[in-house]
Symmetry: C2
Subunit: 576 residues, 2 copies
């Protein structure tokens, strides 16, 4: 492509409303433009990369035997009513009425539609396993769209759904998808990690997220220093401390702590480490259906230097899901103090204690009275434990749950998710096939997503420097950039020859043919901003010595290549 026939409206200044680097650079490089909050037009340069990602995803899904379909964006409410999600789903679900006043939504996901298809078209176990996928535009009405493509409202997604007669069969497809995702992200040229994720009520390690590692990532992902263990922060188990609780050494005493509210203030005021203080949080418990009484309260206790893990808390059967913190009024009413003053001593509600908090002795806690704390608190002697559970987020240095090494934490951007759905949707919609014995059996399902447009942004988050983006060869909009310098016929002719030869060989080549009014410095800056991984300069000066300058976007220095060698050199250097 010649820049004179193209549209790359680069911008020098960083757009003021762009916070994250991928958003800034993709705007600056003229890859995307915003048309409204969370809605973007893909300009030619951006679309080229998006399509390359799409193609790699498609090729690998096909290789894995998945069958591509295309479902409509608009979905009838009836299907969502059958699954129960019409009521459950929040305002992210864009609901609308058609001109005949019938309810529809614009699909943020397609479990209902695909399960409906499966119940109509699949009749026998012989047709299974079947893995159907689509690459399709989804809409999610985010409350605060932000970070450009990272959290937009309209986005391109690859979503796959598999159907099975047994858990074993599901596991097989699930493992194949795990391997396929690794192939995909490897081919894309990304530094990524599959990590165990929480799978809600299904249990087992039946959910994995795929994260692109980047300091700007929104998610914490956890690794073992010495093994393959990897999980997201929600899932990573905080194992019980190796040491047991020591015996009490002091009496329980009440100390006035006027105006000391946070753990930090209290520990400083009492001159103890935050690890010797406990936080007690009050949440709502599960309620009997149809009961009109207020939900019972549950106390959750973690060490002062630890954070409550809400997902783990939700896994306690007595705790209501989604996790709901009790209101100040309700706490006052039941316990008689403000939320910040609570402690486990004398509490008449169930008390779930984190493993690390459960081994403390002589610790500090709230006194269930305002402006007072207890010192020298000891479990059993002073406060009762309903159960000891894993309730907290792991921290750097915690022991790895698999027994090998300690944990480190990195930042990641979630770009893929594979999940064993079980029978949630097939049960609700009655999607059954006849099994080997001729008996109707509800199918078991898996689902497998990749945020195709998000991958593009995540790639930029991982691959950039102060000059701009740096595309991996496989998904660079153009792999090779050519900047001609000088007005001689030789420069002109060689530029055309090299451009045509590489283009004919199937490379995506960007030739900056802007006239001399645009300085070489500006042209180089644009190539760097756009992130073209391989750049050559064909100049009078170089040709005098018989060479063409080559520069890899990731390397500091350029090198001279004999002009006769340039095609061979590039063919050997540039990946696809």
């Amino acid at each position: 492509m010649r820049t004179s026939q193209y549209l790359i409206p680069t911008i020098k200044e960083t757009p003021s409303d762009a916070v994250v680097i991928s958003h800034q650079l993709m705007l600056r490089a003229g890859m995307i433009r915003k048309i409204a909050s969370g809605l973007y037009t893909w300009l030619p340069l951006g679309l080229k990369t998006l399509q390359k990602v799409e193609n790699i995803v498609r090729q690998e899904m096909n290789k894995a035997g998945a069958l591509e379909v295309l479902m409509p964006a608009a979905q009838p409410a009836e299907l969502w009513q059958e699954s129960g999600r019409w009521e459950q789903y929040g305002p992210e679900l864009l609901r609308f009425k058609d001109r005949h006043n019938r309810d529809f939504c614009v699909g943020p996901t397609h479990e209902e539609v695909i399960t409906d298809l499966a119940r109509n078209e699949l009749t026998s176990y012989k047709q299974l396993p079947m893995n159907l996928y689509q690459i399709q535009t989804k809409f999610r009405d985010e409350i605060r769209p932000r970070f450009g493509l990272m959290r937009g409202r309209e986005f391109l997604m690859k979503d796959a759904y598999s159907f099975h007669v047994s858990q074993d069969c599901l596991q097989e497809t699930y493992d194949k998808m795990h391997a396929t995702y690794c192939n995909i992200f490897n081919r894309l040229g990304l530094d990524f990690r599959p990590v165990e994720a929480d799978s809600g009520s299904i249990g087992g390690s039946s959910s994995h997220e795929f994260h692109v590692l980047a300091e700007s990532g929104e998610d914490d992902i956890v690794f073992s220093t010495d093994s393959n263990y990897a999980a997201n922060i929600e899932k990573a188990e905080a194992v019980a401390p190796a040491t047991e609780r020591t015996a009490a050494t002091v009496e329980l005493t009440e100390t006035a702590t006027p105006d000391q509210k946070t753990i930090e203030e209290v520990s400083q005021f009492l001159n103890v480490s935050a690890a010797q203080v406990v936080k007690t949080l009050i949440v709502e418990g599960t309620q009997e259906e149809d009961s009109e009484a207020p939900a019972p309260l549950i106390a959750l206790v973690v060490r002062g230097d630890h954070e409550l893990n809400e997902i783990k808390a939700e896994h306690i059967p007595a705790v209501a899901e989604p996790l709901t913190f009790a209101s100040d009024t309700r706490i006052k009413e039941v316990i008689g103090c403000s939320a910040g003053s609570i402690g486990p001593v004398g509490l008449e509600i169930p008390v779930y204690v984190d493993r690390a908090a459960a081994v403390l002795s002589d610790f500090v806690c709230g006194a269930n009275k305002d402006d007072v704390h207890l010192q020298g608190t000891n479990w059993e002697r002073d406060a009762q434990i309903t159960d000891v559970v894993d309730l907290r987020n792991v921290v750097e240095g915690d022991a790895s749950p698999d027994g090998n090494g300690t944990l480190t934490i990195k930042r990641g951007i979630e770009v893929g998710h594979i999940f064993q759905l079980g029978q949630k949707y097939s049960e609700a919609l009655g999607a059954k096939v006849l099994d080997q014995n001729g008996k109707a059996q509800v199918m078991t399902m898996g689902c497998y997503g990749i945020g195709v447009s998000r991958v593009v942004a995540a790639t930029v988050e991982q691959n950039n420097d102060d000059r701009g983006m740096i595309w991996p060869d496989a998904i660079a909009p153009y792999q090779i950039g050519i900047v001609p310098m000088g007005k001689s016929e030789e420069v002109k002719e060689l530029t055309e020859t090299v451009y045509n030869t590489l283009t004919d060989a199937g490379y995506d080549v960007l030739l900056d043919d802007r006239d001399k009014k645009t300085s070489p410095g500006v042209k180089f800056a644009d190539m760097d901003l756009i992130g073209i991984p391989h750049r050559i300069v064909i100049s009078d000066r170089g040709l005098k010595g018989g060479t063409i300058e080559y520069k890899n976007r990731r390397e500091a220095d350029a090198k001279d290549i004999a002009k006769e060698e340039i095609i061979t050199f590039l063919t050997e250097t540039v990946g696809r």
Copy 2:
């Protein structure tokens, strides 16, 4: 692809809710499934064809120098308010409010969004012409979605928009797009015609439709027997009769015609041909802005055997647009009779007369009294003409407007439309660039659409027989079908070899590997239904004679090909 690993849920019976053949056959062949009125899921087989059409369109657009972009489906109301279409567009426009109560629509077209992009990114005439296109899913809330993909609510569209500083420059791109569309439809393997279409107020031959010829087509398209003249029925000019009006020969008389209402009834009752009767239709005239008086009335007169062409009527400046027939009440009030009894004699409103009606003498017409007609009516003597205009649809045998030959009429399905938009949107949105003289100038625009999913259906409408669809090679989901028959090792091995060789050579091959419980007859019927253009049968019987049976879907008879020759034969026979 092996059928055992695929999903082709064919159906024997014709689905009761499918009226047109493409809808019936695509359902029966398992290419699409309906999920709600006008909303379809593309199953693997259908999607393969859709993607092939999409790729051909993309390749040819790129070849023509158009740049691909991708705009969001959701569009902010503000842009549509700027163009004025937020109010003008009917309920086909799906409007919605997002969770923050802001107005949006799901785009049925993208003039506003692209013009907004152009006004922001294009600044100089040097960047022009620029032709931007996308292949994107659109939504139009049809009142009565029907005919499957022919008139669905969600559909895949290629829409392109070009920007220019001059009409000449637009004309050049327009001509290039005309040629590109011909290339596209030729490559798709379709029998099609570009025809002149009405271009509203812009005038000139600045709009063309591309029609796939099919008896089931909804549109009438008009050709000359002796020249290249082709137009749709709205556009095709009905030239003035070669003969002039003859002098009156009889007196004007009133005849009672009790209960004779239609032209047919009246002409039969009075024993004259329908061509000797005139129809007078009353429509609303243009009204001064803000006037609260009822719209003035206008009379339109055509011959009894001719049809009013509403588009032509709208072109009369005195006639309101869109064409609106006057209500019975209003006619009664102004003229004093029912709508069916009107005639031009004594009318005190403007009377526009079609060219063919204007040359009649001694004709029959309504008397502006119920149950009475006038005979022996003559223009000028009895009735005044405001103007003689072209007001009717042409009919078979009319003279061609270019003076060469006569007109014939065929049925077509509109699959593409190119249009010179002029400055309608660029003016409304203020999309300007600096011209050669450094002066800001409103850009001139063209737009170019292809209904990608509609092309798939139109292809079936044109290519089918009583056994099913017949795909052109270029867009057949699978070009070659293989049916192995017999259990010998040789059949098995040769099947594998042929399948792998052809697949590796880049052909899409469908191997029916269903077991013997499925009879060869059923397999042949499925291949025919699906419309695979080339089928081979590898059987024990054939191999005894050293041959493989080949059958072209369009030919009645199969032929035997030496087994050693089969690859060469297919390579020479099968198109891509």
